[in-house]
């Protein structure tokens, strides 16, 4: 039982990190008032580009993360243009973008032969003596670099949103674009920036899935984690700290599945595979129940295109 718990705890961050990155990206975009339902698509792009960069650019996982980030940011420009400049319904554009990315990634990946190619990927860190401490060493000091970076990143996003000028502008644009505009904030530019920055994080999340956790790429590798992230943001009430908590909770649930089967436990695997999705729905119900009495935490202008127009 002891080893089971240790292995479980040691595996949890690997599952939690991509969810956390995607959720943080989504929070940045949504706090600026843009509902980026594209997150599943951005993760798909990140996952495929991550592997592609790894295979073609000399096998550095960190290069892969950067390239994946740039790729997702570039693809998000289509979405940003559609919803911010052309005011297309954000849900329509988001869902269509997800399917665009699904088609694009499986088309490219299949054509270029990137599927099912196993790579060494991102390795776990070996922190010498620290890593060999019993129990704690395996759980805390044998993770990969991205896990360690995730903590300062969460703090960074939180600081950025709550304590900087940029964050203030971003939130103003998401809460009341008219007032922000009157105060001299460039609404469209701020929203563009938020969507691009958020999508870049989603791209890294996808690349982490392919380069660090599964270490290979297959069609539809993301498997709905983007949608789980959308739900997690609501659960986290648009707060980075709660998002980290939610991601850890989901990491625990998803991480227990391979551990149970490693123990040789007999259970119907397809029902176990349903649990993350069912848990997500449960979490949304919980969020709905607990938010009923209080004011909603959602940015007031979430999903609303900003229209400032001139007529003569």
């Amino acid at each position: 039982m002891g080893t089971f718990l240790i292995n479980w705890a040691a595996y949890t961050p690997t599952v939690a990190v991509p969810l956390l990155l995607a959720t943080l990206g989504l929070i940045i975009s949504e706090r600026a008032g843009v509902l980026s339902l594209t997150v599943e698509g951005m993760m798909l792009i990140g996952a495929m580009v991550g592997i592609a960069a790894y295979l073609m650019l000399g096998g550095s996982p960190y290069v892969s993360f950067v390239v994946a980030m740039l790729a997702a940011a570039a693809v998000s420009l289509i979405f940003a243009t559609l919803v911010i400049l052309l005011r297309v319904n954000q849900a329509v554009a988001g869902i269509a973008m997800v399917f665009l990315c699904q088609g694009l990634t499986s088309l490219l990946g299949e054509k270029m032969g990137w599927a099912n190619r196993s790579i060494p990927g991102l390795r776990k860190m070996d922190l010498g003596a620290l890593s060999s401490i019993p129990v704690i060493g395996k759980i805390l000091f044998s993770q990969d670099l991205m896990v360690y970076l995730a903590v300062p990143l969460t703090i960074l996003v939180l600081r950025l949103l709550e304590h900087t000028q940029v964050g203030l502008k971003l939130r103003a644009v998401g809460e009341n674009p008219e007032a922000a505009d009157a105060a001299g904030i460039h609404v469209l530019r701020t929203r563009f920036g938020a969507v691009i920055a958020g999508s870049a994080l989603m791209g890294v999340a996808g690349a982490y899935l392919s380069v660090a956790s599964s270490k290979l790429w297959i069609h539809n590798l993301v498997g709905g984690r983007g949608w789980i992230a959308v739900a997690l943001v609501i659960f986290a009430r648009w707060s980075p700290w709660k998002a980290a908590g939610g991601a850890l909770l989901f990491g625990c649930i998803e991480a227990v599945i391979p551990r149970l089967s490693a123990m040789g436990l007999q259970f119907p695997q397809y029902f176990v595979l349903m649990t993350p999705y069912l848990m997500t729905i449960a979490v949304m119900v919980y969020a709905a129940l607990s938010q009923r009495s209080r004011l909603t935490a959602a940015p007031a202008a979430l999903g609303e295109p900003y229209v400032r127009e001139e007529r003569r």
């Binding site: 949608w227 949304m284 003569r312």
Partner: protein, 375 residues
Amino acid sequence: MRERGNDGGQQAVVGKSAAVSSGHWRAVLEVRQSISGPQKALIVAVMLAVGLAISAIILILNGVQASSIFDELIVQTFFNRESLASVLVSTTPILLVGLAAAIGFRVRFWNIGIEGQIIFGGVGASLIAFYCPGSGALRLPLMGIAALIGGALWVLPTLFLKLRLRVNEIITTLLLNYVAYNFLMYLVYGPWQDPVDRFPHSAKFEAVARLPGIGFGRVDVGLLIGVAMVVVVWWLMQRSRLGFYMRFVEAKTRMAIVVGVPVISTQIAAVLLSGALSGLAGFAIAAGQEYRLTQSFALDFGFTGVVVAFLARNNPILVAVVSFLMGGLAVAGQAMKVFYQVPVAVVGLIQASIVLSIAASEFFIHHRVRFVRAC
């Protein structure tokens, strides 16, 4: 599916300056007060052309010769008896899911969970096919009814959560797709695995549980059911009291509540119908085409349904037209896979490009960009 902030006070919207300014000329954005029919059609046509051009570029990049795209996509697909039959076969489920999505959108319910509802429709139909041996000629109708019920049941939790707790249905329907898919996997790898070939699909339905052909290629009675559903849904939307309520809910939900339209029951009826029609699509595929449950029998139909409803502006007659075209696209995609080794994923990519182009046309319908000299 209309933009929210677009009702009422547009006459009063007078902002100060426009978004972009460059040199002496600057772009000025105007809200159009009204737009003539032909003008609107022209804008949509131009944006459709943009979407088709993007699609053509995608195909050319994948090695399809530019000169043969028209021949491949239009002539070979629609003007060839054999191929036309295949188009009609693939139109059948698309028609049903298109109607399903359209009804949902009519009451502002985003049914993105059509795939899951197809699966449970297929499961319902198979239950009857496998476990009701004595039913004889009643078997097929019973299977159809079971499929309707299966699809409706699978949308029920989402509907409940949306109406009672205002949980976003886009997310719940999507997540339930994954649950349904895993349940299907459990069935075809477990209790319903084919005992004959041990492959992960269900046993073949007996002849009495298969939809008969209508004597044109592989086209089966499912198509007639689909066409009948177009008529039924058209009647419901345009002629019935429910349809009147639905249009009210779609146009102005809040006002509908105020004037006493039974909004909740209208939504319940429409959404259950949407799920039921998706389930029926599962029946049409399982009993009319595959004759069994396969792992992928529902795959990608969810998005296709949304695409069809969106392009058809939730109009059942247009749904039929667009479904036929999408059926053609599916057949052309298969052909291109065989002749040019273009992955089938290209079909989804083309659909998404066209949807995004048409979605962008809304902007040019509602706004006019003019270039004026700055003073």
